[in-house]
């Protein structure tokens, strides 16, 4: 019963935040609404008994990625007015079409498989949470069945990090920090 009330509140909050995110004018407000929606999703994961996913959702999405977004928004300045000219032609039309397709897909799944979050599945999850524990169960699945995907993702992330380091690298080394030549201040792309 309590779970149902919490679920209702989370549902309303997540949806409200997502809608407000779309209509907010200020970039910082948009980011904040996104954080609110992510935290609400974390609570929804908790309700499902997925403790690990809930914690990771907050640490990674709300805690790391969105803070970085805010940081960038703050550094670049949010007082700038929005650019109304769209760089991609027919972007809105394509987005609308793809969005409708996605909504249709979700509706189809929701209509055809009613038992998606049925009682037997939540009970199975509860049993797993009791016996090996949530973290262990996630670890076993991740490092056995989905190992290849997991490793591929980490390679992808490392590639991205190396790419960023190469792009943002300053040519001058630490030792020449005290040198007062103006060229050492220049940023070069390797």
């Amino acid at each position: 019963m309590i779970a149902l009330i919490v679920f209702g509140a989370v549902f309303v909050f997540a949806l409200g935040c997502s809608i407000a995110m779309l209509f907010a004018k200020n970039a910082v407000h948009t980011a904040l609404f996104l954080v609110g929606s992510q935290v609400a999703l974390a609570v929804a994961f908790l309700l499902q008994g997925a403790h690990f996913v809930a914690a990771v959702q907050i640490i990674i999405y709300a805690g790391a990625i969105m803070v970085l977004f805010l940081f960038v928004v703050m550094l670049l300045g949010v007082d700038r007015s929005e650019v109304l000219v769209e760089p991609l032609p027919a972007q809105r039309q394509v987005a609308l079409g793809l969005g409708t397709l996605l909504a249709a897909g979700i509706t189809y799944i929701a209509l055809t498989s009613v038992d998606l979050i049925g009682a037997d599945r939540t009970q199975a999850l509860a049993a797993i949470n009791r016996d090996p524990g949530n973290v262990l169960a996630v670890a076993r699945t991740l490092f056995s069945r989905y190992l290849l995907g997991f490793e591929a993702t980490s390679v992808l992330l490392v590639t991205a990090i190396v790419g960023v380091m190469v792009l943002a690298r300053r040519v001058d080394s630490v030792t020449s920090l005290s040198a007062s030549t103006p060229s050492s201040e220049e940023r070069e792309v390797a």
Partner: protein
Amino acid sequence: MSAILDFIGVEFIVALVKAIVVFAALLLTTILVVWFERKVIADMQSRVGPSRWGPWGLMQTLADGIKLFFKEDFRPQGADKWAYALAPVLAMVPAILGFAVVPVGGVLGFGDTRVGLVGSDLNVGILYFLAMGSINVYGIVLAGWASGSKYPLLGGIRSTAQLISYETSLGLSLVPIALVAGSLSTVQIVQAQAGTVGNVTFFDGIPVLEQVSSLFRFIPNWFIWSQWPAFAIFFISGIAETNRAPFDLPEAESELVAGYHTEYSGIRFALFFLGEYVHVVVISAMAVTLFFGGWDGPIFPFLSWLWPLIWFTLKTIAFVYLFVWLRATMPRLRYDRLMWLGWKRLIPGALLWIMVTAVVNTAGIDRGVRLAVFGALFLLVLGFVIRGDPRQKTAVSPQRRVSSGAA
């Protein structure tokens, strides 16, 4: 009555009572910690400290709190209304929520109901603690931005960089603990530290040192012995997370007025203040839980349920004292030194230590060998961490200055 009880469930009522007790206790603790800090600092600076109201000036914080409540709540013209109001709340609430996974005692029995003296025994307790810490960043970031003023913005940007950097090493320093304890639950981590180190065969056969071995039977089996480097990294990052000296750059008075909370007054400022002190208590309590056996300690027959609480409180107070001590003795770090320490010493050190723990902790390795390897590698990591900044030696060397002058 029983119908209502069935409807909402006993578990819910227990959880509610726990939440209220933890909240009230933390607020009371904050009042005491503020007083404690002022008294200790005063003592270290040969002053008297608060002494007017109550015994030893104990009620001074309460007076300050009442003053803050009745002060005018001022908002600058250029401030962002909603974010400005949200920031102090986000600075305080996650700090309090973080305490929910700290076990302060064993299990109490009320008739048939067994109540664990912990807010919630989550099986992802450590991750929850980290998650709350990461939400805490928003309070400071938003305060800096929403004030619509220069110095708070600078303080906010500084703090974002600082907190993101030190959150990484804080998280990494907890991985070895999870490896050693085999669990992310704080309750199970405390249970894993129960008992004593026990028989150590390491010095057997050596005449004098053989007596030393018997001493190990009295030493509690806390993680601090094998996880000393992880503790050092955890505590340094913890201080940085709480924005306290020597890592109080976001609110450096001499440079940024009061940093991110420059424009805050009255009750909103009080919330920031409260958040910082609750955070200090939570980091101290977490250090005790993860490295110093939590509520573990000798339990005497009379009032046996009270002893764990007493040991936990005493250990936590010791760490709060350490926080205050550091504030009284350490000068503030320069910004580049702060970043250097975080990224070039703590994070590589933490990664190295995770690797060492993972290798040494593998099943099948003898316990004596394990202890020896831990000890040797501990010294290695320590040397690596405290070796110092090579840049400091080269950047301001007189030789370089001469050569650049000649050019």
